[in-house]
Amino acid sequence: MSEKKIKNVFVEGPITPEKIANSIAHHQVKTNIGAHDIFLGQVRADEIDGKLVAAIDYSAYDEMANKVFDEIRESAFEKYDLTCAHIYHSKGIVKAGELCLFVFTSSKHRAMAFDACRYITEEIKAKAPVFGKEIFEDETHQWKVNK
């Protein structure tokens, strides 16, 4: 039995606006799509005890995380009538203001694209073994925990 090849969702460093634009462009040939929805996660310069977050250094249990991302994507296809769904997540340093997560769902109509995009994003937050070290401007750090 051949094992399904699991896609690597991780991108080294921030996700660039160019990558997002290119991804949209690639879908213009798929003329059965009538609606896209996009979620972008951006690193916030939170102030904690008077110190500003300058960047988040993301790490992950890569093999397990990629399996989890794949399961989330598969379950989104089961729940919603989607044409496409893509997930990209950063690893390494992402500075405040830069993008760390890109979820892109496409469907015939808007409701499915909206619902699936939210579902995928919430599932990632809850289930993907990804860890974030919030680095302050003075180079001290603390570990981020999803609420």
């Binding site: 996660g41 988040i56 993301y58 790490s59 992950a60 249990y61 093999e63 397990m64 995380a65 399996k67 997540h89 760390c100 997560l101 994003t121 990632i124 937050k125 809850a126 289930k127 993907a128 073994p129 990804v130 860890f131 974030g132 070290k133 570990w143 981020k144 925990v145 999803n146």
Partner: protein, 78 residues
Amino acid sequence: MILKLKYFGMIAEAVGKENEEFECANSSVEELNIALKNKYAKLASMNYKIAVNQSFVEPTTLLKDNDEIALLPPFAGG
């Protein structure tokens, strides 16, 4: 038996390493967890989940030689 342990995020920082081989007698996930808390006192006050071969299993699950065990602190993706 020998287990392949992997530590992530704040757990790796607390134990001072990202992976190690751990030799122990036959044990369950919860018994291994107690052994690790004895070895690394800082773990006692930390919040983490244990994955066995990249899946979450019952605490009573028996471990096998060469299993990959990961200590995963709270997730922060997205």
